[in-house]
């Protein structure tokens, strides 16, 4: 099983979610995060003073899928979240040892 973590632009969430729905991904976790990469910060204006804000708001999407579906999910996210501009984000793929559904105790692929 693989866990796919995608850092994306907040405005792209709906498109990514719809694209993942379309290929049968059944669930995901989204959190609001802040960070920076090559895009670096952006400027904000408070009472006539410009401030560089290093940490830019992004969304982190977490999806766990069977190993064989991982590459398709990654490609789907990449296409849906792509604007071609700097700051589109990154996708990380991690190996997951175990998955347990709390309600039933089902494990691994049944629990995804």
């Amino acid at each position: 099983m693989k866990k796919i973590e995608a850092i994306i632009k907040p405005a792209k969430l709906d498109e990514v979610k719809e694209a993942l729905d379309a290929i049968g991904v059944k669930g995901m976790t989204v959190s609001e995060v802040k960070g920076y990469g090559r895009q670096k910060g952006h400027k904000e204006i408070y009472r006539g003073a410009e401030y560089i804000v290093d940490f830019i708001p992004k969304l982190k999407l977490e999806v766990v899928v069977e190993t064989e579906r991982a590459s398709r999910v990654v490609e789907t996210i990449r296409q849906a979240a792509n604007t071609g501009k700097i700051g589109d984000g990154k996708i990380f793929v991690l190996t997951v040892d175990e998955v347990i559904r709390i309600r039933t105790g089902e494990r691994d692929n049944e629990a995804i």
Partner: protein
């Protein structure tokens, strides 16, 4: 107040003691229900400005200090709310003691002698409470300059001492019927609702406190973001509404002067907001919400001293000029590097100070005619400007000197500037044992 702006319109001559008769007011002993009703509403409106200010300031600080900052405004309602009936009203509005430093009237001590008093148709209790609200909000304004870096106990001691040493004397000099600035020149210093007594005094003291305390740790290298501009905007809205009670209520009538003051307040606030919006649109190509509400405030503070004497064209000009000057005052702050954190000096001090002086050039003719009659010669804008400058100089001197002494006393006694650990953790947790929001991260 009957001792405030209204007198300025109605009297050309010096009033030594006693109450003037207001136009249309009932004789002593009979309640003028119209005026009384409006003064009750005004009292409520001015009180509403205190939570408004708490929201305005509270939204501008970092998440870890939101409650501590709001408490700075709220605690003034308790501290000054107790001191005012005990001795504040007696000191501010009693007859001048020899030398005229403050007043004293034992009837006003604990307000014990005014239980049956009706003054010019208005129960004296209302006048005392209305004035008390101004006394509450003034020290709270200063909290904008010391935000995010003082002990709560130090702040409490500071505002009590400041109230006694700065507010009470100024209020007596400028608003009491026998105050010496009230009687300066042909018709006194013009300060309808507290350009000097409230905003310049608080603004100058704010600058002194900011210089005394030094900047917040990390300022200005670390950007310190407002935690909740939504709350700041709501607070600014409450301030605008409350200001109608503040300015129009200060005429202590329900009549022509009231209508004038209310109109000028509205016009100037709108003009100020629009001007700031335009400046930012030109400079940054962005219309920021914080800029907009800063413009509202700039328009409101500039008209506070002037709402009784200027006309709408004057109010438009004053509001616009205030935003322009305040905007550049804030730029200067960035260059000079002092940390007047929420711009109490940069907006209240600068904007209202501007109004105190410039109003001289926009006074309506009828007022100038009365002043000329009182002076026994043609009274000009320059004559009045000199009186305004006198008031301004006195206010700045008293506020600056007294504040530096108070700062030293507070620092040496209970402590003023918070320790490093407390500042880093934030006031909410280290001083109040609470946090303002639920699961929101507290790192900024």
């Amino acid at each position: 107040m009957n001792r405030k702006g209204a007198l300025l319109f109605l009297l050309g001559t010096t009033v030594a003691t006693g109450w003037p008769t207001l136009a249309g007011a009932a004789e002593n002993g009979i309640v003028d229900t119209g005026t009384t009703a409006w003064m009750l509403i005004s009292t409520g409106l001015v009180l509403l400005m205190v939570p408004g200010l708490a929201m305005f300031y509270g939204g501008l600080v970092r998440t870890k200090n939101v409650l501590g900052t709001m408490m700075h405004s709220f605690v003034a309602m308790a501290l000054i709310g107790v001191l005012w009936p005990v001795c504040g009203y007696a000191l501010a509005f009693g007859q001048s003691i020899p030398g005229g430093l403050v007043g004293w009237n034992s009837d006003y001590f604990l307000l014990r002698g005014i239980d049956d008093t009706i003054t010019n148709g208005v129960p004296e209790y209302i006048l005392a409470m209305f004035q008390g609200k101004f006394a509450i909000i003034t020290p709270a304004l200063i909290s904008g300059a010391l935000a995010e870096r003082v002990y709560f106990r130090g702040y409490c001691l500071f505002i009590v001492l400041w109230f006694l040493a700065v507010y009470v004397p100024l209020c007596h000099w400028i608003w009491a019927p026998d105050g010496w600035l009230f009687n300066a020149g042909a018709s006194g210093v013009i300060d309808l609702a507290g350009g000097l007594v409230i905003h310049v005094s608080a603004g100058v003291s704010a600058l002194v406190v900011a210089l005394f305390l030094g900047p917040r740790r990390g300022y200005p290298k670390i950007a310190m973001h407002p935690n909740n501009l939504v709350m700041t905007m709501m607070g600014a809205g409450l301030l605008w509404v409350g200001w109608f009670g503040f300015n129009a209520g200060s005429t202590v009538q329900s009549g022509l002067d009231t209508a004038r003051a209310l109109t000028m307040t509205q016009v100037s606030a709108a003009s100020g907001a629009l001007t700031w919006l335009i400046i930012e649109a030109l400079v940054f190509k962005k219309a920021t919400s914080l800029g907009f509400v800063s413009g509202i405030l700039a328009g409101l503070v500039v008209i506070t001293p002037a709402a009784g004497v200027v006309q709408p064209s004057g109010a438009l000009i004053l509001g616009a000029l205030s935003s322009l000057v305040c905007y550049y005052a804030l730029q200067l702050k960035l260059k000079l590097g002092y940390d007047d954190s929420l711009d109490c000096f940069g907006i209240h001090g600068v904007g209202s100070g501007l109004g105190v002086l410039l109003l001289s050039f926009f006074i309506r003719d009828s007022w100038m005619a009365k002043a000329s009659a009182a002076a026994g010669r043609a009274w000009t804008a320059i004559d009045q400007l000199q009186i305004q400058l006198l008031g301004m100089g006195v206010t700045i001197a008293l506020a600056a000197v007294a504040t530096i002494v108070i700062c030293l006393v507070v620092e040496k006694s209970v402590g003023f500037r918070i320790d490093e650990q407390g500042e880093m953790v934030g006031l909410d947790q280290s001083l109040h044992g609470e946090s303002g929001y639920g699961l929101v991260h507290s790192d900024r």
